[in-house]
Amino acid sequence: MPARLKHGLQALTIAVVLGLLALLIWKVVHQDEGVKLGGGRTPPAPQFALARLDGPGKLKLASLRGKVVVLNFWASWCAPCKSEAPRLEAAWQRYRGQGVVVLGVDGQDFSGDAKRFIRKHGITYPNVHDGPGDIGTKYGVTGFPETYFVDRRGRLVGDRVVGEVSAEKLAAGITRALQS
């Protein structure tokens, strides 16, 4: 094999390996791990417009600016979501007069199953459908249920609640968001 050809093939091989390495690094760097919370951070809540489960059309998070939003990620097949549903409904009834909205985001679920869940548990607060779970990924949701608190200026405040949310944690999160 002539030396020029040999060097050309070697250069091509190195270029291909470097290209694949660059792709791998790009993928790792751009992996969406969701917003970082805690330590006094108040990042803006990722925006979304999702199909409503409690009526026609879409609901935009931006349309709730000026209100405190309790964002609850759930799925109909998730057992702890069933136990916490009455607590979320009670918080909605108790705080709605103070400009607080509880918003359920049903993810990785059939919309029909979600609607049945809403009816069965007597839920009256608004709910939207995030079938692929993309919005959950933007928030950094790692499982269901998870709850976030958004203040009146559209910023995430406090820590997220991973797993079933208690009445105390709901009250504390809402109070912090109202005072933020």
């Binding site: 094999m1 799925a75 097949w77 998730c78 990785q108 679920d109 059939f110 919309s111 199953d113 079938g131 692929p132 779970g133 993309d134």
Partner: protein, 150 residues
């Protein structure tokens, strides 16, 4: 004759695919649909949502849906990532095209190397019928062989 054979082969290959499209089974769809929570195909998952999707597929098969119809309904609920195969448009098209491009480039490089190698052999002194061995050495080898035979 060749055309008839090609048509026959195409028919033989297309018939099972058409049958699978019209009358899909849960088993084959389990390998083509992803579990949204665990990011594996359904046949490797026992997650609650995987069980629910299996139940949905069985119900749609019983209702007479084709494979494409079932997949469309799943995509409408969970997005395109619910399909194990990447879609054949946009950036995902690369996943379908690149293996064939790599295969073509590899075959071309191999053919070129074989061509170079065979040309090199044709141009060698042995192939050209020229002296391949020193006459003195050849004479000595013949002598040694004769002594060995004797």
């Amino acid at each position: 004759m060749r055309l008839a054979l090609a048509l026959l082969l195409a028919l033989v290959l297309a018939a099972p695919a058409a049958a699978s499209e019209r009358h899909p089974t849960l088993g084959e769809l389990e390998g083509e649909v992803m579990c949204p929570t665990c990011k594996t195909t359904l046949d490797q998952s026992s997650a609650p949502i995987a069980d629910r999707i299996r139940q949905f597929i069985s119900a749609r098969i019983a209702a007479g849906d084709t494979k494409s119809e079932i997949k469309q309904k799943l995509v409408a609920q969970f997005g395109p990532a619910v399909l194990a195969e990447p879609s054949k448009h946009g950036f995902n098209l690369l996943a379908w095209v690149l293996p064939f491009v790599a295969l073509g480039v590899g075959a071309a490089v191999l053919a070129w190397l074989v061509w170079r190698w065979s040309r090199g052999r044709e141009g060698s002194p042995a192939a050209a019928g020229g002296p391949s061995i020193d006459p003195e050495l050849e004479r000595r080898v013949d002598e040694e062989l004769a002594r060995f035979d004797g």
